[in-house]
C-alpha cells in the first residue's frame, strides 16, 4: 500500500511540474466548453428583416410590432416599394422581407382573407427555414388574437409545448455533448500519454525490472487522473449550470457517480491505447483520431443519431459517449433516476470492464 501511495505521489509530481499537462487538463475544458457553448448554436437571435408595409393601417403596424417583440427579429429598414426588395437583399444585411399588402386590416375583416408575403434569403437554407418558421408562428398567433376579439369562425388551435427545453435552447443539446467530449478526451488522452511517456523515456524498463506488479503500475499511473478528471467533470458541470443555465433536475449524487463511471470508461480506453502504442505522439494521434472524430460524428453530439443511415446507427452504439450523453440529458433535463437509465449505465460499466480486460491481456510484462 505504501508503495502504491508513493507511486501515486510521483505521478502527481509529474502532473504539477509540467505546465503543458496542467494547461491541457484544466485550460482546455474551460476554453472548449465556452467556445462550443457560445459558438456552435443553431439558434437565431436578432436577425435583420425589412418590412414593406403597403397598408399603413393600425393592424399592419401591430403585426410589425409583434414580429419585433419576439426578440428573434429586428426591423432594420422599412421599404417603400417592391423595387427596393431586390436591393435590400443584395446589400446582404437583410435575411427576410415581410410584405404586407395594401388594405391589410380592411381585407382581413371584410373579405376574411389576406395574404402576407414572406421573402427569405435562402442562400443559407437553414437560417431561411428557421426565420420563416418563426415569422409564420408569430403571424398565426396574431391571427388568433384578432379572431378571438371578433368571435369569428370556429378554428382548431394546436397548443405546442416543448417539454424539458421549453425555450428550445441549443445549449441544452451542446453542453452535455461538450462535457462528454472533454471528459473523454482529457481522460483517455492523458492516460495514454502518461503511460507511453514512461515507455518513451525508458523508465518503463526500470519499472518492469522491479517487483511492482503490472496492475499496480497501471492503477498507480491512472489514479491521479481519476481524481483530476472528476474535478474537471465538476468544473464543467458548474459551468454548464452557471454560464449556460443547464438545469439539474435529477439527483446530483447520481449525476456525479455517472460522471465517475464515464471517467473510468475513458481511462480504460486510454489504457487500451497505451498498450498498443509506444510513443506519446502516436498515443495522442490515436486518441484524437480514434476517439475524437468518431465521437463528434457518431455520438449524436452534433448530428442526430436518428437521421443517420442504418449502418452508422448501429455503429453509434459502440460509442461510449452516446450513452453518457443520454444519461446526462436524462438526469439533467428530465430528472431521471437510476431506474430510467440503468441500461445505459450497465452498457458503460460493461464497456469499461471489456476495455480493461483487453488491456490486461495486452499489457506486456517485457519489452516487445
Amino acid at each position: 500500500m505504501h508503495q502504491f501511495l508513493v507511486f501515486v505521489r510521483k505521478e502527481f509530481y509529474h502532473i504539477f511540474r509540467d505546465k503543458r499537462t496542467l494547461l491541457i487538463l484544466f485550460g482546455m475544458p474551460v476554453v472548449q466548453i465556452i467556445l462550443f457553448g457560445f459558438a456552435i448554436t443553431n439558434e437565431i437571435r436578432e436577425a435583420k428583416i425589412a418590412v414593406l408595409d403597403q397598408s399603413h393601417d393600425y393592424y399592419s403596424r401591430r403585426l410589425t410590432d409583434k414580429l419585433v417583440a419576439s426578440g428573434y427579429l429586428i426591423t432594420d429598414q422599412y421599404l417603400q416599394s417592391n423595387n427596393q426588395v431586390e436591393t435590400a437583399f443584395k446589400a446582404g444585411e437583410i435575411k427576410m422581407v415581410v410584405v404586407i399588402p395594401a388594405k391589410f386590416g380592411e381585407d382581413f375583416f371584410h373579405q376574411k382573407k389576406v395574404t402576407v408575403q414572406l421573402l427569405a434569403d435562402a442562400g443559407d437554407p437553414n437560417t431561411a427555414t428557421t426565420l420563416l418558421n418563426y415569422a409564420t408562428a408569430i403571424i398565426s398567433s396574431y391571427q388568433q388574437e384578432l379572431e378571438l376579439q371578433n368571435n369569428l369562425p370556429l378554428t382548431i388551435n394546436t397548443t405546442v409545448r416543448m417539454r424539458y427545453n421549453p425555450a428550445l435552447k441549443s445549449v441544452f443539446l451542446f453542453v452535455p455533448g461538450v462535457m462528454t467530449l472533454i471528459l473523454l478526451l482529457v481522460s483517455a488522452m492523458m492516460t495514454s500519454i502518461t503511460i507511453t511517456r514512461e515507455k518513451e523515456l525508458g523508465t518503463m524498463e526500470i519499472l518492469l525490472v522491479s517487483p511492482l506488479p503490472p496492475a499496480m503500475i497501471i492503477i498507480g499511473k491512472v489514479m491521479p487522473y481519476i481524481l483530476l478528471a472528476f474535478v474537471n467533470a465538476v468544473i464543467i458541470l458548474s459551468m454548464g449550470v452557471g454560464i449556460f443555465g443547464m438545469p439539474i433536475k435529477g439527483s446530483i449524487l447520481l449525476l456525479l457517480l455517472e460522471c465517475v463511471l464515464f471517467v473510468l470508461t475513458s481511462l480504460s480506453l486510454g489504457i487500451l491505447i497505451s498498450t498498443v502504442t509506444n510513443t506519446q505522439q502516436t498515443a495522442m494521434m490515436a486518441s484524437m483520431m480514434g476517439l475524437l472524430m468518431p465521437t463528434v460524428l457518431l455520438s449524436g453530439f452534433i448530428f442526430p443519431v436518428e437521421s443517420m443511415p442504418e449502418p452508422l446507427q448501429v455503429l453509434s452504439n459502440v460509442m461510449p459517449a452516446k450513452w453518457f450523453i443520454i444519461i446526462l440529458k436524462d438526469i439533467m433535463l428530465k430528472g431521471a433516476g437510476l431506474r430510467d437509465i440503468w441500461l445505459q449505465t450497465g452498457i458503460l460499466a460493461g464497456m469499461t470492464l471489456f476495455f480493461l480486460g483487453i488491456s490486461i491481456r495486452n499489457f506486456k510484462i517485457r519489452l516487445n
Partner: protein
C-alpha cells in the same frame, strides 16, 4: 552454489538481423565482469535478456540460480539494473528519485544506506535539484544509487560511462571497485576499450558474437605480435604509406599514433624505417609499445 550469472548458448534475432549468436559465459561471485564491444554489438540486447525484459530465441540463462524466463518475477526482486539510456525521472529531484526507487523495491534509503553512502555523498549537495538538470556524470551516479538502493544480489550496468566526462568515468570505476569489495557481482558493458583493464574479466563482443573471454591481462599477453606506435606530422599520408608497405600486417589509427604490426615482427622493423625515410615524413617517431585491449580487439575481429 552456482555462479551468480550463467549465460548458456543464447541466440537472438530481430527480423533478419542476428543480434546475438551463441553467447555463453559465467560471472563469478564478487566479480567485476566487463562486456566490451562497439555500439550495435548486441550488448544491450544481452542485458535485456538477462534482466528478463526480452526473451531469447534459443539458449538459457540464470541469474542467482533463477531462470530468466520461468522465474522472471523472482529475478525482478533481486536484480539491480541500470539501462543504457538515462532512465530516471527528469522532473523529480535527486532525493525524490532515490526515495521512489527505494520504495518500489519495498525498502528505504536508510535501510541500505551503507551500500550507497560513498556514491550518494557525492551527489547529496544537489539532492534538491531536478535529475534532468544534473551533469552527465552526476546522472549516472544517481542512476547507480537507484539501482543499488535495494541491495541487489546481482548488478547489471549497461554502458554506465557512455557520455560521461573522463574524470567522472574514472570516479565511476572506482565506485565499481568499491562494490566488488561488498561482494556484489557486477556485469558491466562499455564501448571504451581502455576501461576493459579495470575489470576482473572481460568478454569481447562484436556483431553479436563473443570473440574472447578472459582476464584483460591474459588477453593482452596472448597478443601474438610486436607492436609499434608510429607518428608523423601528416598522419594521413603516413597511414596510406604504411598500409602500402608490403610487410605491414595491420595498421590502425589510435588517437595521435598509428599502431602497426609487421608480418615478420622485429625483423621487418629496419626495412619499414628505411621505407618510410625514403618518403618525406617530417617529425616521424617509431616507438615499441605493449598491446592494449583495443589492439587485441582489432586483431581478433579482423
Amino acid at each position: 552454489m552456482a555462479n551468480p550469472i550463467i549465460v548458456n548458448g543464447i541466440y537472438k534475432n530481430f527480423g533478419a538481423t542476428q543480434a546475438l549468436q551463441d553467447i555463453s559465459f559465467e560471472v563469478k561471485e564478487a566479480e567485476l565482469f566487463g562486456l566490451i564491444g562497439p555500439d550495435g554489438a548486441g550488448k544491450s540486447t544481452l542485458f535485456r535478456i538477462l534482466t528478463t525484459l526480452l526473451l531469447a530465441d534459443k539458449g538459457n540463462a540464470t541469474v542467482n540460480g533463477l531462470d530468466v524466463v520461468k522465474q522472471y518475477k523472482a529475478i525482478r526482486k533481486i536484480a539491480g539494473y541500470m539501462p543504457g539510456r538515462f532512465s530516471l525521472y527528469q522532473d523529480l529531484t535527486v532525493e525524490e528519485n532515490l526515495h521512489f526507487f527505494a520504495t518500489i523495491f519495498n525498502t528505504t534509503i536508510t535501510a541500505n544506506y551503507d551500500l550507497i553512502k560513498d556514491i550518494y555523498e557525492q551527489i547529496a549537495p544537489f539532492k534538491k535539484r531536478l535529475a534532468g538538470q544534473l551533469s552527465g556524470g552526476m546522472k549516472q551516479k544517481l542512476a547507480l544509487c537507484c539501482a543499488l538502493v535495494h541491495k541487489p544480489v546481482v548488478l547489471f550496468l549497461d554502458e554506465p560511462t557512455t557520455g560521461v566526462d573522463p574524470v567522472s568515468r574514472k570516479e565511476f570505476w572506482e565506485m565499481l571497485k568499491g562494490l566488488k569489495g561488498k561482494g556484489i557481482p557486477v556485469l558491466v558493458s562499455t564501448p571504451y576499450m581502455d576501461e576493459a583493464v579495470l575489470c576482473d574479466r572481460v568478454a569481447l563482443i562484436q556483431k553479436g558474437a563473443l570473440l574472447e573471454i578472459d582476464t584483460p591481462q591474459n588477453i593482452i599477453h596472448r597478443f601474438p605480435q610486436r607492436i609499434w606506435a608510429v607518428r608523423a606530422e601528416n598522419m594521413f599520408a603516413l597511414l596510406l604509406a604504411i598500409r602500402a608497405f608490403p610487410q605491414t600486417a595491420s595498421c590502425y589509427a589510435f588517437g595521435e599514433y598509428l599502431h602497426v604490426t609487421l608480418k615478420a615482427g622485429e625483423a621487418d622493423l629496419a626495412s619499414l624505417q628505411a621505407y618510410l625515410q625514403q618518403q618525406e615524413h617530417t617529425e616521424m617517431k617509431i616507438l615499441p609499445i605493449t598491446a592494449s585491449i583495443e589492439d587485441c580487439f582489432m586483431a581478433l575481429s579482423a
